[in-house]
Amino acid sequence: MNLALSDEQEFLRDAARGALARHKTVEAAREAADGSDLPDLWPTAVEAGWPGLLVSEDNGGAGLGPFDAMLVAQECGRVIAGVALLGHVPASYLLDRGGYSRIGEIGDGSLRAAFCPARPPGDVLGEWTVEPRRGHARAAAPHVSGDSVSGEVAWVPDAPGAGVFVVVGVENGEPVALAVDGARVEDATVYDRTRPLGHVSFDGAGGERLDVSAEEIAAAWYIAQALIAAESVGTVETGLEMSVQYAKERFTFGRAIGSYQAVKHTLTEVLRQSENAKSLLLYAGWAGEAKADEFPLAASAARAAAGSALDYAARATIGVHGGIGATWEHDAPYLFRRAQVSRRLLGGTHDAVDRVAGELLATAV
């Protein structure tokens, strides 16, 4: 029984924090919201070796597990850095296992991949589905025939500018993963400029069929869930630190606002939710490495808790700061924008909550 980080993991985390500290990411978020281009952090990722985290050593990667990638994602979330790992890392997992011909370039980051995710079937919704452009009903996964694919996946993280797309489609009811170069990408970035999104469509494009199982294709979805969870927890940490600092320094009626129970209890609630989410990141990380049958439950629970924590923390950060927290010049709105978009990506936080229920019910009967 030991949930402590290894020395290597601590080093990976500290190195990520150091590498990201060289960029003014929050300022970049504000400037991007005003229409400037977001600085490209991919070279930083390449230099740090992040594109190859999940690529096996035989293929030139680091051969690490989901938890290691989650540690990096958490650091990116802390500074709301737009590093294209949410798209690349789950894609690299399938490309590495699926015998992709250009895996060396994926591992060293000279080729950036984006994952067009498909939600695995559950106990209520029994098909593979993808994000729709709009509305409540999920869309059918793209149609695969041989090595060609047709269909669309909306709201794909990090799609703009990606060199290859890993798309999950269905052939004869079975999931298939293809690596496709020739996709049409419509920039769909909304509200949070640090989170590039695209609608990706395939018009019978030919691709390289990846030799992966349905379980591996599902695992890529849960790796994405675990990554967005870790990233969200990082953003929660920043919101909490900002708010605690301000609550010590801002005085009303002759005392620091942090001495008021109403404020103290709000911030303790952020801490409570954040600690719960961190515990579940450990569960997801452990299951991702050692307990594959629990990974869907663990990753979904982590996503659910982290998503809820980020929602609460983003609003609390604005609230504790008072009116100033809701202004363009403050940092709090960028955490809020991140929270608003994150909550609705990759099936949405609510789908992760439903998956937790489905997994619990499936093992309870």
Partner: protein
């Protein structure tokens, strides 16, 4: 990151498992077929079982060897807890005594007290109870009013009332926090005592709760005489002694990863019996949120255990897990009763009992509101609430309170 046993831990687990398998038939049956029903018989059987567990080294695992323990770490205690749970046999009866009160005596008691009390405590021959909370002092424990006055010959006379006392009805001894000097600020005039529960002037009354059952007791002390050597730890140093007990309480809670039986799989099982409910999106959402919380505290428990193994003591943030646990269980009770309908409220019944028990549990060990204050101040470093009791002699503080009430 590894949830598996080391080879040494695996061997230890195997030894515990083997002993439990060989002696399972000697354990009291508390549920199902052939279960004991008479309260006195149950207590006698559980005391005897605790004695056997202690003989086998499966009680007081973390106690020093010189006091009958095994001198092992928290992980071995957890392994024992897990194996007892797996074997489907009851654990020790006096988990408060072995987990919190015995360790307090080990830390603060005299050599005479240690040699007199620890062995019978560990073996279940003498059960102990914790006499801390009072009707007017719960979260603000240092506000207790039970008074111990020293007489000329050095002995003590005790007057006052305690409440929420688990196991008092069959306890041999209690560890009691009393005020010995009201003329100093409230944390400074307290002393811890060892009190025989059969002493003249001790009255124990069951305290019935919402369920109708008496899980706890009220204990009254009327001119109870205690010998001069009844103090455990320094006279007027009782607050430090009490903090030791509360620290061991957090450790004990941290080691009990079972979450008092409030587990996600148990609640999911109840919902899964109703196929219609299992497909209802509102039911699923509520179950998913409850399950997420309960899974989180399971792994928070493992984090606490990791810290304990590295020699760190869990801080007040471990209390956040209790907040999550109680509130998730409350929501689970609501959900299950919503799904099953009024039938879930039939008494006696598993769910009606849980639903009745939880509102009080919310305040057990300190109210949620005070816990959030403590965590906000100690963990987040937020400034404290302005306090009106700092540095004021307790007697003066009480006079001010009475004045304020009188308006």
């Amino acid at each position: 990151m590894d949830l598996n046993d080391s080879p040494e831990q695996g061997a230890y687990r195997e030894r515990a498992r083997t002993w439990l398998e060989e002696h399972r038939a000697e354990a009291p049956v508390l549920r199902g077929e052939g279960a004991l029903t008479d309260e006195d018989e149950i207590i006698a059987a559980r005391r005897a079982w605790q004695g056997k567990l202690a003989e086998a080294g499966l009680a007081g695992v973390t106690w020093p060897q010189e006091y009958g323990g095994q001198g092992l770490g928290p992980i071995e205690q957890v392994i024992v807890n897990q194996e007892i749970s797996r074997a489907g046999v009851p654990g020790i009866l006096d988990s408060i005594g072995v987990g919190m009160l015995g360790p307090t005596i080990i830390a603060h008691g005299s050599e005479e007290q240690k040699s007199r009390y620890l062995a019978p405590l560990l073996h279940g021959d003498e059960v102990w109870c914790q006499l801390f909370s009072e009707p007017a002092a719960g979260s603000d424990l240092a506000g207790i009013q039970t008074r111990a006055r020293q007489t000329d010959d050095g002995s003590w006379v005790l007057n006052g009332q305690k409440v929420w006392t688990t196991n008092a009805q069959f306890a041999a001894y209690g560890l009691l926090l009393a005020r010995t000097d009201p003329e100093v600020p409230k944390h400074k005039g307290l002393t811890m005592f060892i009190v025989p529960m059969d002493a003249p002037g001790v009255t124990i009354r069951g305290l019935r709760q919402i369920s109708g059952e008496a899980e706890f007791n009220e204990v009254f002390f009327d001119d109870v005489k205690l010998p001069a050597d009844a103090a455990c730890g320094d006279v007027n140093g009782g607050w430090g002694t009490a903090l030791t007990t509360l620290m061991f309480e957090r450790v004990t809670i941290g080691l009990g990863s079972e979450g008092m039986g409030y587990r996600s799989d148990r609640f999911a099982h109840a919902i899964a019996q109703d196929a219609e409910a299992g497909r209802d999106s509102d039911v699923r959402h509520r179950l998913g949120e409850i399950g997420t919380d309960l899974l989180a505290i399971k792994f928070s428990g493992y984090r606490t255990l990791t810290a304990l193994q590295r020699g760190q003591i869990p801080g007040p943030e471990a209390g956040l897990a209790k907040v999550t646990l109680v509130n998730a269980a409350i929501r689970a009770g609501d959900l299950i009763a919503d799904v099953l309908g009024p039938d879930a409220l039939s008494e006696p019944g598993e769910w009606s009992y849980m639903i009745s028990f939880l509102p009080g549990l919310k305040s057990a060990g300190g109210t949620e509101e005070i816990l959030r204050n403590t965590i906000g101040e100690r963990v987040l470093g937020l400034p404290p609430e302005p306090r009106l009791d700092k540095g004021i002699p307790f007697a003066e503080l009480r006079a001010k309170e009475k004045e304020a009430i009188a308006g």
